[in-house]
Structure formats: C-alpha cells, structure tokens
Symmetry: D2
Subunit: 372 residues, 4 copies
C-alpha cells in the first residue's frame, strides 16, 4: 500500500481511492434508462396539444399485460392521456382473473397519478356488425354497460356522459369487402349518441371514414388497440404509436373531454395526419418556419424551411410554379433547402401535402410564401 502511495506522490497527481469490489459489480449499461421521451408536436392557437391513445386492452379482457403496464408504456412514449378499453361483454373472461369492468381502471389509476398521465375511464362495447365495436370514454361505471341489447349499452354510456366512438369501421373481419355506414349507425348518430370515428386502428386506415367525420361533424380518432406489449406490436424504428391529437384548453381530463366533444382532434398515424382542414393547416403553419433567402444566383433564390417537430410533411406539385421542386420532404427535426426562380411579384409556391388528409382522397393545400 505504502509503495503505491509513494508512487502517487512522486507522479504528483491528485488521487482518489476506490475499492475493487469482489462482492458485487454493477454493470452500468445493462439496464435501459427508463424516462419519458417527449413527442415534439406544437400547441396551436390557445390550445395545448395532447397526445392520446383511447383504445387498448389488458388481462381484464383479451390483453396480456397488467393495467399498470399500459400507463408505463404511454409514459415512456410521451403520451398525455390514455383509455384502457377492455371488452365489456366477455369481461374479464380469463381463468384466475376476478374483478369486473371497472377493475383495470382502479388498478391503473394510482400509477397514472404517479406518472402525471391523464387516465380516461372507459370500456369497449363489443358486438357483431352492425354496430360492431364502440368505445365509451369518460364513463363513471363501465360495468353498467354490460347489457343484453347493444342499444341499451350505448344509451347507458350516453347517460353517463360518455364520448362514444365507432371502432375500426372498415375492419375486414366485420366488413370484408366494403366499409359502409349502416342504418344502425345512422340511428345512433341521429340520436346524438355517436361522437367520433376511429379512422385508424392497428396498421390500417379507412379513407371513406374521413368523409364521415367531415360531413357528419365527428371527431377523427387514431388508436393502437394494443393487446400484447406495445413494443412487440409496433415498428417504433419507423413510426410512433398511432395516436389522437386533441387540442385542449388545458392538460386536464375535463378539457380533454370538452375538446373531443368540440371535435378538436386529429388522427396521427404512420407519419400521416387526418383531420379537419383548419386544424391541419394550423398544425403545419405552427410546425414549420420558412426562412429568408440566404442566396440568389442566376435568377434562382435559395431558402430554408425548418421543422423542429416530430411531424413529417411531404409537399408535392406535379407542375410546380417558378421551377420549384416537384417534391419537398420535410423530415422531423430537420431543415431543408428549397430553390425557385425569382420573379417580380411576390413568390408564392402552391403545394399539396400528400401525407395530410382532409377527406377521402383529399389532401391539404398550402402556399409557401418566399420572403425577400
């Protein structure tokens, strides 16, 4: 020992001592760092943008995880609100699992409070087609929705003040080669008992349902419908989990609910957005920044478009103005350089954002104003 000390004194550097421990050695990189990774989507106007998933299952129906896992997954992925929507009719259905349709919420609630997540009490009304599956969100007693007739379940949900949505309307297990709006749905809708459509579920979306949302003034909803572990289900290397963006006055359950009833929602899935034109337009304009030209050469002006968000925007124009590009891809957290021919009047470049859907086969149109 002394020898070492002398050496240390000789080389004259400051020294610290540690004990090489033969009892226990910690592998510092063995465990994954578990923290909340935020999703970068801007607030629009006076509204806070909440990232939500309103469709998922646990062991209390045909899912394979304990309710707390759904809260943890949502937290790590940066979601703000979730609804656990176990199937109501065959609930709980698993051998060894007791409790009722309210149990999953009861178990998940404390975890949600610890992680500052909004947990929506909910259940999935699971019937054959018509009317198929419907989620009842913001209910007070899920068990009360277990009724013989589905109409009674939907009525009860509405009596409890629920936001009711039609799930995966074009799911081929239920509508093999079409995606039609049935008389039954018309009736539910007429009664004011239907408030949203799940335009995206799992890995599929239903273009025709975009028009339903627009024409009938229903909320655009995108959900995961996870049954197994989320990271087993989705290809996170390419996309985030499908989610619904809700534009709420504040980050609270009450304002979340109000915003949904007021149709301030956008479906976000596979780097695409679907929703009302005005909301998509605001999202695009709030997300990107068109910078002043940094270079002009031989009648061509060069400028940058920045996008600090996690959203992607694919701008296309078959016959672009001023020799601007036919396609401009604006990726998350990136800046892209665009050039076009200079003219006397103010330069305005019209584009269609082909990954932003405002209806069936319809995309958002925008104009890029090139500054001086």
């Amino acid at each position: 020992m002394r020898k070492i000390l002398i050496i240390l004194l000789l080389i004259g550097v400051q020294t610290t001592i540690f004990a090489q421990n033969f009892n226990v050695v910690k592998e510092k990189d063995a465990l994954r760092k578990l923290y909340r990774k935020e999703i970068r989507i801007p607030n629009i106007g006076d509204y806070t943008t909440l990232k939500c998933d309103f469709h998922m299952h646990t062991i209390f129906s045909d899912g394979s995880v304990w309710p707390t896992v759904r809260v943890q997954e949502a937290y790590y992925e940066g979601l703000d609100a979730i609804a656990i929507t176990d199937h109501i009719e065959n609930q709980p259905g698993k051998k060894y699992v007791e409790g009722d349709q309210n149990s999953a919420f009861e178990i998940a609630k404390p975890e949600a409070e610890n992680l500052n997540l909004l947990l929506v009490k909910a259940g999935e009304i699971t019937r054959g087609m018509p009317p198929g599956h419907l989620n009842a969100l913001f209910v007070s007693d899920v068990a009360a929705l277990e009724t013989e007739k589905y109409m009674d379940a939907i009525k009860e949900a509405n009596n409890q003040g629920a936001f009711v949505m039609w799930n995966h309307p074009g799911w081929q297990a239920m509508q093999p080669d079409t995606c039609k709006w049935w008389d039954i749905h018309e009736e539910i809708y007429k009664r004011g008992w239907l408030h949203g459509i799940e335009v995206y579920n799992w890995d599929e979306w239903y273009p025709v349902s975009f028009d339903w949302c627009i024409n009938k003034n229903l909320s655009f909803i995108a959900n995961s419908d996870i049954h197994i572990v989320a990271s087993h289900r989705f290809n996170y290397e390419k996309y985030k989990r499908p989610m619904t963006l809700v534009f709420a006055k504040t980050r609270s359950l009450e304002d979340l609910k109000n915003a949904m009833f007021e149709r301030r929602t956008v479906a976000f899935f596979a780097n695409q957005l679907a929703g009302p034109e005005n909301l998509l337009k605001q999202l695009f304009e709030t997300s990107i920044e068109i910078k002043k030209p940094f270079k002009t050469e031989k009648g061509i002006v060069f400028f940058e478009i920045s996008n600090p968000t996690d959203l992607t925007f694919i701008l296309e124009n078959g016959s672009p103005k001023n020799k601007s590009p036919k396609k401009i891809e604006i990726f998350p957290g990136s800046t892209v350089i665009v050039n076009c021919a200079v003219t006397n009047e103010n330069i305005t470049l019209p584009y269609t954002i082909t990954n932003l859907h405002t209806g069936m086969g319809k995309n958002l149109s925008v104009e890029i104003q090139v500054g001086k």
Copy 2:
C-alpha cells in the same frame, strides 16, 4: 379508362390493374415483424448449447405480465428454455388474481409448446437472509413448497427432484456490504440440496461467487429476474438479456436438467462469460477461427481471426510476445487482423481473455497459434 388503356398499349409494357381501396388501406411497415432471432453461440463437443433464463416473474407474484408474455419474449430473443419463478410465499398476492403457485406454468405451457420452447416448472423460495431467495427448478408441484420453515421448502423441492439455486447472493438489500457464504448455506450444501449459484442477476454479478461454484462444484447461473416487460428492463442496444448457457445432450427438458446437475453451464451477461475453465476454453476455441497469414512484410506476419458468433472476446497481454498487440478485440460476426514479428520457431501468442471469468479475479488464458 379507355384513354389510359390506349396509352398502356402504346407504351407497350405489360400492365397490371389494382384498385385504390377507399375502404381500407394497410400500412405495411406499421407493425413490427415478430419472429425468432437466433443467438449465434456454437455447440461444443457433442453438446447442444441451450440459451436459458431461469428467473422471471408474472402477475402471479409481483410481475406485471401474463405468463404467455414471458414465453413470447424468450422466443423473439432466441432463448431455448425458461423458468417462470414467481414468489411462492406471497403467492399470488394481487387483488383480482386467483389461482395458486402452479397457475403461471399451466397458462404458459401451451404457448411454450406452440413456440417450441422448453418450459421448466419452477418457483422462487423467498425468505429473509439467511438463506435469502432460492429457485427450485424442475419441480412437479410448486404449491407444495409453501411451508412455514424454509428448510422444509428446500427439502420438499429436493424430494421433487429439483435443481436448487441460490439467487443473487450479493444483493445489497440482503448483504449490504459483503457477500458471504453463511452456515445455513453450508448446511444446505452439505445435505446435497444446493446445485447452483446465480452469479449474475439484473445488472450485477458477484465475483466471490465464481469461486464458490468452482470450489464447491456448483453450476454457474445468470438470469434476468424480470418483473416488468423485458424490453423495458434491459438495454438491448448494447447487450442481450443475461442468460445461462447449458450444454445438453439434446434440446429436451430431461437433458437440460441432466446437464445442469452435471454442472455443464456457463453464465453469459453483459458480453462476459463466467464458468469452468474447460467449458470457456471450448467455447472460445469453437467460436473463433485463426486464419493462415495473408501477408508477411519486413519480418512482420499478418493474419486474420474470425468470429461468426454473437460472443465477444477481449484478449489482453501487458507484455505481448513477438510485438503482437497488447489488446485484441474480437467482436461478434467480425474478422480482426493481427500482426506479430516472425521468428524461427512456431509462433505462439499467450493472451488473457479479460471478459471470460474462471474465478474471482481470474480470467481464461489462451494461446494463439499462428499458422504457416
């Protein structure tokens, strides 16, 4: 329509027709491809190398997933055998969860059969220190291990022909600033009731326990001890899940059990291996290929070492022979170029593999034979 057809006929290329479907659009990259990714570790001698994890929990104790999830995780990660080891004493312990200590196995078994995985029936005897926690593997009735005295539980396990291992001996919750072998363990061991030591658990290993395995002829075991979702727990970007390599006559439960009783196991964790010298030596020699020199220049010979496995080998020598490198890092699936000075006699380069542990503070020594 006709116009398009005419165009097609004019450009004279073969054509196919598809309908752009407004009912449903599938996002082909939205879901993760779920398949079994094999772990590349060679068989040695006449033995099949089985990758095993003998310590994990489900909702039937303090875990948060349904038993089938443990089977699925193991399948995706390329494991061959697992044991679900829920805590026996406070079992099942969760509100809404019924069943007994045999339920997790009963639920997981059919999934294991579907995925061709070996499922070991097991449980964790969970007591204070001493003796702390012990896993009983290959038991017939886990419930029977719920006894007042821990000695009775260990005895019952052995009566059932169990392989009994001492879990995380140096866990600081139980041995805060030491990792000692208690009289109790000596007694269990003397009676022939102890067969292995968990030298690695979660993110930590216990160097002193390497010597216990060597001196008392016990099996080296490394386990995950997962409670939450495996992919939430471990840093798979850097390491595989900790696991025990078992060298068995065939890939069957019976031969797995025999191999463990015959101590043919190696602990694999954080790109390190710990086990008996002869097994580590065989693993190294079977894993790498030393190629013939491809170049000789100015008395220096250049040759390649290939490693098609998923194992890593870090060779070091403070005063290397023939001017060979002080450090040779052989990464998974790679080939590394080594050079050294040529001499008349056959060239043999002695190295210590610093990430292969044969005891407390002891590493495997090898000799690299440079060919002609």
Copy 3:
C-alpha cells in the same frame, strides 16, 4: 488518505489504487470501433462466395474520396473484392488532381493488401448512348483505354483480357422511357467483347436485363456506383450495399476473374437476388434448414425453418397446398414456424420465392419437404 485506508481495511475488501488524471481523460465510447463486419452468405458446392462491388469512383474522376477510403469502406462492410472504376475519358478532371487513369489503383493497392481485400484494376468507359457506360475489369493499363472511338476502347480492354460489363442499361438519363438492346450492343456482344450486365445500380434495377443475361449467357452484376461517402449514399439501416456474389474456386483475383467469365455470379440488392436458376436454388437450399416437426395436433403438423444467413427469403403461394401459409417470410438469422395439414403421402409444399429473380417477371420456384 489514512482515513480512506482505514475504511478500506475495515470493510476488508481487496483494493487497487488509480490516479485520477488531470492531464488527459480518454472518453472510451467516443470513437467508433472500426472492424470488419462479415456478411453471412454461405459458400455453395465447392465454391467460395465472394462479395464484390465492381463500380465506384474517387477524386480521380467525379468521386469525392481518396482511393484508400473505398478500400476501407469495403473492409468495414465485409466485402471481399472491389474495383475502382473512375471515368476514363474526363480523367482526372479535377483541378489540383494530377496523375492518370492508373493512379487510383496505385494508391489503393497497398491499403487493399493491408486489409486482405482483392482489388481489381479497372476503369469506366464513359460514352453517350449507344453504347453508354461500360466497365472494363481486370485490365493491365487503364490509360490505354482512353481512345477516340469507343469501339477501340472496348477492343483494347478485351486485348488486355478484360471482363467487360454494360453499366446501368436502363438509366433514364440515357434511355428515358425504355431499356432496349441496341445494335451496337449486339455487335459488341457478337464479337465476344461483352461479358456481363449491371442489372442493378444505385437504387434501380432493370427486369428486362435479367432475360438478356439468361438468353445471351452474360453475368448478372449489381454494383453501388458510389461517388460520395458510401454511408452517406446508402440506407444501411435497411439494406446492405448492392453487391455481386461471385462463386469462385478460391479467394484470389485469378479465380474471381475465372468465375465471372464462367458466369457464376448473382446480383444481390435490396434484399433481393437475381441470377441463374441453378445458382439461386443452391443459395436457397444451402442457406436454410427445414427442421423435423416438433408438434402435431388435430391433423396439423408444426415445423421450423432456420436461416442463419444474412439473406431474406419471401415464399408465396396464392393457393397453398395442405393449408400451409400463403406467405412465409424467412428473415436473416431467424427461425420461422410453419404449419400445414398432415396427409398420408409425403408432404411437399410448393412455393415461389418472390424476392429471387430468375428472369423478367420470373421468380424461383421451390418445394418445401416436410420431414417425419
């Protein structure tokens, strides 16, 4: 200092001392580990499978890297042979760059010898269409190929014993809306001066050229044609660099050349293979292992198919036999479980491998033999 020592003696663990160095601190993870990552593609029959890229540029034409970089990139990516093919006519073309068409090879050669890579001396005959661009491989003097008439250049290449290939025949810059075989190519071919076709280049392939290779007995070639840094050019997260697989007697320049003249080549690009039926069939059969059934239940047999290689095989059958799956995706380093109905006679499942091309619009047909 003494206090620390006393503590250490008290806790009685072995200790080592190190000096915290204020002169220099090394960040151990700051630099990338640079080593050769092998590509797992099996040898077939008596042939060694060489992974080759025969088309790339350096600063000696319109590329942006020094020749040694091409060798390093190929080494890291696990290639066995490369050819630097700078444009011959406008060579060297860059201000401040001297030397001639042989300089790039001269500079790269020593690096190739150090990294045990086969370096093919070559150049790109760069003319308008017809005949477009042709690579001359295995030449002795690239400069001699700088001639006024392209026919003289091709002749000179052949006089030097070159393997001559037609590059990117369908490149739209040269054949905007077709990919035709010109009289000029017929003439070159008739004279025996053409030996291969680049059926894949950059990010595109030319189905019609598959038939040319088959019908005229020419070698299938896939190349990168990199000009900038390879890792800037290609999406390595999804695919390996496009390359040509050459099946040679040994890993030597001579046998590489012979194998190419003997047409033992397959194009490998974007997880697809294109080549002669017999070679693709051998590659498939050598790559996968069909395991014995591990389970039979209710007349359904379950078995595994393993693929330890880096190749992907997508098996499809619109109307599958014995209720086997319509699609079987066999990913690199994976094992997939397949099931089908049991019948009395031996079970043989016919499939088409849709990512293995044997001609224009033609794929390899195989039969899966289900064991007993």
Copy 4:
C-alpha cells in the same frame, strides 16, 4: 382487361392504373435520405448559439476526403460553421495532389454557400513541442503561414487578424505523462497571440486546460480533428461529434469571429460541457423547465423537469436536501419526475451538475426552485 374493369365497376371503388415497368424499377428505400438534422441547443440571452468544428483535414494534407465532403458532413450533422485546417508545413504532401494551403478553402467555399454553412479560412501550424500544433482561424492567406520559424507563422497569423488556438495540449504523443504550460506558450500568450485552447480533441480532454482558459481568459474549444470520414471516426450512436458552441450576435462569419475573441464559447463533447460558469449556467437555465408540482402526498411533493434540448444534465448531491434524489439524470428531449419532502419555507434543492465543467475538477452548482 375488360373482365378486370367489370369487376372494378362492380365493387364500385375508384381505380387507378399503373404499368408494371420492366425497364426500370426504383427501390424507394435503397438510398439514405440526405438532409440537415438540426442539433437542439437553445440560444442564450441575445445570442445565437452556433455549433462549430474548427479542426479537420482533407486530402490537401493527411486527410482522406475531398474538401466538399467536410462541408456535407457538417451540414448533415447540423453544424453552423467549420474550419478546414490542413497542416501547413507538409502541405499538400500527397502524390498527385497539387495546389497550395489555400486550395482546400477555395474548393469547399462554393459548397458551403450552397448549403448555407459558415466556412472559416484556416490552417494548422504543425510543429514539434513546444509549441506543438496551433490552429490559425479567420486568416486571409494560409500559404503565408509557411515559415521557417514557428514564431513567424504565429506572428503572421496574428497580422492577418487570426484567432489562434493551441491544439490538443495534452496529446500524449507530445506530452507523454504531463500536460504543462511551457514558457513558449507563456510568451505567445503574453504577446496576445493566443486566444483559445482546444480542451477536447478526438476522444480526449485535458482537465488542467480548463483552468488555463479560466485563469488566462482564453476560449474553450472542442474539435473533431477528423482525418478520415466522420461517420467512420465517431460513435454517433452514443454522442454527437465534438464541437464548440459559440454565442454570436448573428449567424455570420464576422459575429462568429467577434464572439470567439470575446470568449463566448463552450466546449461540447461526449455529453459534457466545459466553459465559463456564467455561460454554462445560462445554458442550463435556458434548456430546462421546472414545472409546477402535479401531486403532493404524505408530505412529499412531485414535480417534472423538462429538457427539450439535445443536451444531457446529470445532477448529483451526496447529501440531498428534503429527501430529494441523490442523482437526477435529465436526458435529451425528455421529462423527468422529481420528488422531495415539503417544508414551510420555499424549497430550494442544491445540486452539482457533474457533466458540466467549470474548471479542473470543478462542476457547475445550481439550485432547483420547487414551485407552489
């Protein structure tokens, strides 16, 4: 054809026609998307934060890429300014490479203008120790720095108005077992000819040099010193390229230069920052947001800290106040939950940010104010 049309009309969906093209097929994911990925570091006060790398080489000295590659790499990585600093004395040094010490700048300049990057004209004065290597930035004629005596080179650089920095002072090739300030450096410094120190280079940093910067009022600089391809050199999976953060009035060469002379710089390397206390404090305070508590339970208050930047902050306190955590890791783009005991007076939690260096062995101290 007609049949298909009829079918289409029957199922009544809109249809489009495309021709399966046998001339050319584009692989849409084959190429990497090349775009500028921004680095998220906030501006502080009235200053724009510029991300800079002032030390790199090209084929015009001992580097292996064409000058334009350095500009492209910097652009993709989100840098704002770079300096190409080829060695002056042995310039250009490569066979086949002509031109002089100004050539690299001349070649890179147009590319920098196209990509809106600030390109600093510079060179590396490369001498033995003392004084070792020094970079002269913002010079007008690099060739004029090729002098017999190094003092003349440094004088000439200053005559040209250069910002002169001492490179890798602790590089062990030059100061094997120390990192001392020589009389020569004292003289250069006394004459006002030295303005900054490269406290980080490649994979190493020099703690003692932090104090030199503080005590002698010199700029903290971190650079890559790349010679090969940047993505071959650095481990981008873990860290960004080492860089210097410069806080400038505007994003222009003039303001960049002024800011450096005014010492408004911070070294950023391996998720650590080194610089003057006031700048690090501002960076921290501008980067994070301490949210209002979202929960109080049993005298414990819970609140969130958000960090939308790409910076990492590791807060530690051996004996934390109010039972707050001993360690708080705030990762890029994340939110972390912190809790502590509630008391009557305002809660202030003192921490040291162990990855922010304000001197040799000194870290930034901060106080977390917990809101009401």
